[in-house]
């Protein structure tokens, strides 16, 4: 474990990503204390450029709402959607992949065809349809993102399990009379987890982007301020008031970048074969 942190910290990209993520989480957790009022409330005249009025460093949008307050409250939604939908996708993808890889044969084929069924539909289109059918709300958005993002997890886990299943220590567990579920949970999955963790960190980033895209199209939760909604709302006036779209855009960019950097760092730290120096 110490070793893991040492290699993780040696990767400057990973450290920067981690710092940005910690900052983003801090903003999401404590931000609403600094901006206790609703981000939807009008505080000044509309289209106020940044750094012109005291207390409104990022200006106001087309309805006179504080852009900074929107970004702070939006961090909550973006991170929450990213994390929860990834967790949900893992909760579906890991068992499906593990069972398909472990049992193989008909069960494996059936599970993988089911997985491929979801993969053949363009994921963003499916997400839009799902949110539209279920009515836009934070729950339906999380659900839609989870449904479109579990198949890659299942495929990855299946591949790992397939290769681990023939290892001698797994066979040793079989001959000592362990049950299937014990072998999958205790012997195989702990050894298959490293690539899944890396994938999960990248999935959080994708989920944030997906949520932003849905909100941009007006399919976000109408009661919650989110970065995607702010970009979408400001897009019609981008020539007169660039700040309304640019600042939430930067927030999306930085948090997605941070998660990608972390993914990279995790990959280096968890794959001992790649992080060795020399050839």
């Amino acid at each position: 474990m110490m070793n893991f942190w040492r290699t993780m910290l040696r990767n400057p990209g990973g450290v920067i990503g981690l710092m940005i993520l910690i900052l983003a989480v801090a903003v999401a957790v404590f931000g609403p204390l600094l901006f206790p009022t609703s981000p939807w409330r009008m505080v000044q005249r509309p289209f106020l450029p940044p750094f012109t009025a005291p207390g409104l460093p990022l200006g106001t949008d087309a309805l006179g709402r504080d852009v900074l307050a929107g970004i702070v409250h939006g961090a909550r939604v973006s991170l929450l959607v990213g994390l929860v939908s990834t967790m949900a996708a893992l909760a579906v993808g890991i068992p499906v992949g593990a069972m398909a890889g472990y049992f193989g044969g008909r069960i494996g084929d059936a599970l993988m065809r089911f997985t491929e069924f979801f993969q053949t539909v363009p994921s963003f289109a499916l997400a839009i349809v799902l949110v539209a059918i279920l009515q836009p709300s934070i729950v339906s958005i999380v659900l839609a993102i989870a449904i479109v993002s579990w198949p890659p997890v299942a495929r990855l886990v299946r591949g790992e399990v397939l290769s681990l299943r023939t290892r001698e220590y797994v066979q040793a567990a079989v001959v000592t009379g362990q049950s299937h579920s014990w072998i999958i949970w205790r012997e195989i999955l702990p050894n298959a987890l490293s690539p899944v963790i890396v994938l999960a960190s990248l999935m959080v980033a994708t989920a944030i982007l997906l949520e932003s895209s849905l909100s941009f199209l007006g399919l976000g939760d109408p009661n919650l301020m989110s970065w995607g909604y702010m970009v979408g709302a400001g897009r019609t006036v981008i020539r007169q008031a660039w700040w309304i779209t640019v600042f939430p855009g930067i927030a999306i960019l930085i948090s997605v970048l941070a998660l990608n950097l972390i993914g990279e760092g995790l990959n280096d730290a968890l794959n001992p074969r790649l992080n060795k120096e020399g050839r």
Binding site: T176, G177, W182
Partner: protein, 540 residues
Amino acid sequence: MSAATAVVSIKNLKLALPPGADRRYAVDDVSLDLTPGKILCVVGESGSGKSMCAHALMGLLPDTIGREAGEIVYDGHNLLALDETGWLALRGRHIAMVFQEPMTALNPLMRIGEQIAEMFEAHNLLTPKERTQKALQLLREVGLPDPERSMRAYPHQLSGGQRQRAMIAMALALEPAVLVADEPTTALDVTTQAQILKLIRDLQRSRNMAVMFITHDFGVVADIADRVIVLQHGKVVEQGAADDVLLRPQHSYTRALLAAVPSMQPPQRAPLAGRAKAVEVVGLDKSYVSGGGWFQPERRVRAANEVNFDILKGETLGLVGESGSGKSSVARLVMRLIEPDQGTVRLGDIDFTRIGGKELRKARSRIQMIFQDPFASLNPRRKVGNIIADGPIAHGTDAATAHKRAGELLGLVGLNASALERYPHEFSGGQRQRIGIARALALEPEIIVADEAVSALDVSVQAQVLNLLEDLKKRLGLSMLFITHDLRVAAQICDRIAVMQRGAIVELKPTAALFSAPEHAYTRELLAAVPGQTSSSRAA
């Protein structure tokens, strides 16, 4: 031997390992000379630094290895001071190498002929047409059957021995003065090994090459070496003419290594007649089917063909054969890790092939397995104590008792009980194999199946583990199915031996009878191919 006649002299070579390694120097003050027309064998156990010497000679040292002191002199130049361009001109043309595993050393996507011709291309020699001709000639010289077809074959279409011949042809292409062979026969079967050793010997004589031959196998040394260097922890402990080192070893380490080589003489064994049968295998059949589909015919490989044998209580039955003979498949069939197409395995009063589900899981405690690779057979993420105690816990023992018993078992296999709280990666290969044995014993089985259980271990560790197995078997009254490709090991531990060829048992006899009067032609071939028989009988 004076340095003047040597083509390559390694002088006081000192290579530093990266910080944090188990010792400071990979190679510590090693000096050796390679002379034309002579084979120098570098012998040592794993981690002795023998491969480092070879890689230093080829300029293939990893960046993390520090070149502390010494020099490698070839043709008046110090090779350690060469830059990459210098090496490019030297490698292949003056010093060539044959690797251990020909399947990974050859490019799987290139035809054999092209790979050999590439040697000339890399050094800008000859025209393309001449290159092809030369490659064909080389393949003929190394004795590949049907050279014209082999030229167009991909590596996977050749057998292991044929691939190694192709590797040797590549190494010889530019008529190097020095050939470095790093365990070139370790991955091969014993009969193939004998052929490759003869080939290297013949080629080296006809071309007057200097050969540096790296091996851990004293049998191979006895067959091929002119001079021998014994390495231990990166230091030279002994060197000299082959006969001097093998027959009159001076250093205690050399003596210990030689003593650890199992002899071909089977020891006297107590008769076991009249005992009850522990395992009965009747008519076991298993075929693997691959390919098939619309455009290609199915390929069927019979891994087990009408296999019949039984093991008496307290008996060790050896199952020997070359790779692909189906001996591991039989082990897995007996363990019921794979399902047979036909036939039965009876353990005492139960039919092990007919039961399933919970009943099968319960019956599994009667037969346990020791695996080949001590590095792959222990889950890297579980503590040793859990690895051993998991089995009994699954069979209903409560956790505290199981862990206490695990500690006792560790003592039984010669490890400290403090190992319980540690992870497998903290142990050496031999220690891990002991943990594997403790795990197999934890369920108090009647039968142990050992699948090449000592093949991955160094010879001295191998002797210890064999003694441990023999001792445990006697004390606990176990029956054992011992699978090995090494007839020397089989001679020492087995009461009876079954010889397998292409999925079928061709001969099954008491060990002494098998060694003194082999009947089947294949058994005789196997026995004759065991390396180092002449010297060991002399030494004995």
